[in-house]
Structure formats: C-alpha cells, structure tokens
Symmetry: C2
Subunit: 228 residues, 2 copies
C-alpha cells in the first residue's frame, strides 16, 4: 500500500516548506512514501510507536481517542495539507490518539528520525515546521473552545457550517461522518444530534437526505451558531 512519492516538489514547497533547500527537497522526496487508505481504515492506533511524520495529501481523516469504556472522542477532523502528526510527534515516543480515514485518503509519510535530522540541520526548516504545526495545534484548541461554549443547537449549526464553508465550500455536501461521529466530535449523544438535525429540517434551515445535507438558510444557521 506504500508507493514512492509522486507529488511534485512545487506542491510541497508552496504548501509547507518554503525554506527547503534544493538538496533537502530532493532528500525529502527521495525518502517520502505515499500510503493509500480506504474509507474506514485505521491509519494509526493510539499507543503505537511513532515511526513517521505524516501529512494528509488527499481525503479526510479523523483523530480520536478511545476511553476505557470503549467510547470514542473525536479530537478533530483533518483536511488535506493538515498534519496528521500533531506536536506530540517531537515530544512523545508513542501516539496519544488514533487516526482513521473518513474518506479514501492518501498520506505522505517520512521517517521520523530523518525528519528530525533535517530539522536539526536546518533552522529555517525547523521554524517553518513549527509555524505550521503551531497553526494546526492552535486551530484544534480554538475549535475545542468554540464547541465547548455552545449549546446543542449551536454545536450542530457550528459543525454544519464548518463542513459547508471550511471543508467543502458548498451549500450541498455529503457528510463524511455518521451521526454518532458528529456526536463524538461535539460531546453530545447520537440521538441529540439526530434530533437537532430533524429540528433544523422542520424549520426549513436544511434539507436532509441520508448523509447529504443542503443548507437552505445559511444566515439562520450562522445566528444559531453565534448565539447558541
């Protein structure tokens, strides 16, 4: 399932590593492998040793933790060019969360010690990496605070708008997650999510067809998201 990297260097440099020197880009691409996963595949299991530094090239994945009772808590949903490796990557030896594919996904992976080696030798690269990792972690913290302060209606409106504007950039989209996963992300129950979606439907704010969602009244959802 791992294939040689074929993503072009231009993409790599614009998306991530403006500070790469020519020889480093070459080295990086030489060593980097792509791994393809299907929807539902578990990519990383909590507790596994950290082997790779990786980012999402295409698709969609969820980062989550499983508690003693077997219940999952979704930390965040990562989009292309988000890092799958969060900051723990440099301070931990083992993954503190699991990762699985919500859609067919391609990850670009590079050996963690090689990554560290490059970072050690190139301060600019380190800084660049820190900026990017920092932005991703910050986003997670911010989002967590945003979700926490909302009531159930606000939470559901928030995540619908996130999918619509943040991820798919369209008023019509297929939810990449089950109702249960939405609940695990928002800190609600599955029934609560379903009930809220149904209410939005009855109030003609959205149209629902299985996992397909159409946002009919964007402004109202924004209001609910801000207020609730």
């Amino acid at each position: 399932m791992a294939t040689k990297c074929d993503c072009d260097q231009y993409e790599l440099r614009t998306a991530f590593f403006q500070s790469f020197r020519e020889d480093e880009v070459s080295l990086f691409c030489e060593e980097k492998v792509e791994k393809a996963y299907s929807r539902g595949d578990i990519i990383i299991r909590e507790g596994e040793g950290i082997k790779y530094f990786s980012y999402l090239r295409s698709g969609l994945v969820k980062l989550y933790k499983t508690d003693a009772a077997g219940k999952d808590q979704i930390i965040t949903i990562a989009c292309p060019f988000d890092f799958v490796s969060l900051l723990g990557i440099f301070s931990e030896t083992h993954h503190t969360y699991s990762v699985s594919a919500l859609e067919d996904s391609i990850l670009c992976c590079i050996d963690i010690s090689l990554m560290k080696g490059i970072a050690m030798k190139n301060g600019r690269f380190s800084m660049n990496l820190m900026e990017r990792l920092g932005a991703v972690s910050n986003k997670i913290i911010q989002e967590s605070l945003e979700i926490r302060k909302r009531n159930t209606h606000g939470k559901v409106a928030y995540i619908l708008l996130k999918f619509s504007k943040g991820i798919y950039d369209s008023l019509v989209f297929d939810l990449p997650v089950s109702r249960r996963e939405i609940a695990e992300n928002l800190g609600m129950t599955t029934e609560g999510v379903i009930r809220t979606l149904s209410e939005f439907r009855k109030e003609k704010l959205i149209r629902i067809n299985g996992r397909e969602i159409e946002i009919l009244d964007d402004a109202a959802l924004e209001r609910i998201s801000s207020f609730g």
Copy 2:
C-alpha cells in the same frame, strides 16, 4: 517593572534548552528581561501584537479568551516553566488570548524576533523548542478532552486533584482561583461549582475554608473523577 535577568544559566539549560550553545546562552541571558506582576494584573491582552516570547518563572497565570458578551473562558492555568507563549507565537502576529496573574508572578521575556533569529540559526535549539512547545500544547488539548468528557462532579473532582497533585503537591492548599474562574475553566456555572464543592464537603470528601481546601478522601475523589 522589567529588570535584567538574574536567573542562572543552569536553570535555563536544564529546564528548557539543553541544546543551547555557550554563546547562545549568553546572548539569550543578555537580552532576556524579567517582569514581575501582582495577583490580578493583566499580562497580555487578547489582540495585542506579539512582542515577546515568554515563560513563567514563578507564580501562576491563567490563559483565557473573552467572548462578545464579556464572558471569559479559561483555556488553561500555567505553572512555572510552562510557556506563556503557546504555539501561535510563531504563526500569528497578535495574541489570540489574554493572560493574567493568579498569584504574584515573574515572567522571563525575550524579544520575539531575537528568539526567531536564534531558532533560525540553531536547528537543535529549534527542535528543542518545538518539543517543549509541543508538550505544552498537547497538554492543553488532552486536558480539554478530559474535562469535556466528565459530568459536573467529575469535572470538579478532576480540577481539585489537579491542584492537589499537579500543582501544589499537597492535600491542603489555597485555591488560586475564584469559584467563577473554576467554572470558566470547566465550562460550568459558578453556582454549579459551589454546589458541587458543598456536596463534597457534606460527604466529607473535602474540607473548605474560603479558598483553603483540604482533601480528606483522595480515593473517593479519584473515583468520582474517573467515573463521572
């Protein structure tokens, strides 16, 4: 309020920057200033431009956001040798949260561009910094997830144990925060916090005297924290 740095280099190197070269430690200490704050002082206001990279040398501070309605949401409480600057420091130009002193505190601050300069030139230092920043951010994310999954009793038990074991290392301690601030940290109401504390008191799990708390039944609190 700013004075020349007098913290010794040993402390600095063991706590943070094992990878500092001699000349860098000197440069760092040359440029670094200490700032003293009194309980209640606001150290950083959300929205201000980022001037310094800083860490807490002594005391206790809270990081928080204020919403449109004027309500505060406490992101985390930082202990000595935690960074006050989170990761945003390298990806943002302005602070995304406020910081204020819960106890009299001393911050060590260094000009942010100087910091970047050192990081650019010394990859090992960058890596070191990333490890530390990563650990702090990770801790915040983990803690946020821990709090989110608990009910009110579990939340309050969790924070009491955090103060007892994580911060003061004692069964008796003075709460550094008001009931309202606990509520802002846990995502509860002030009354809810008070009520829960009273219940713990009635069940003889804790003794309360104003802000002084004594933990009487550690095991029971642990149980409530794990279960609830």
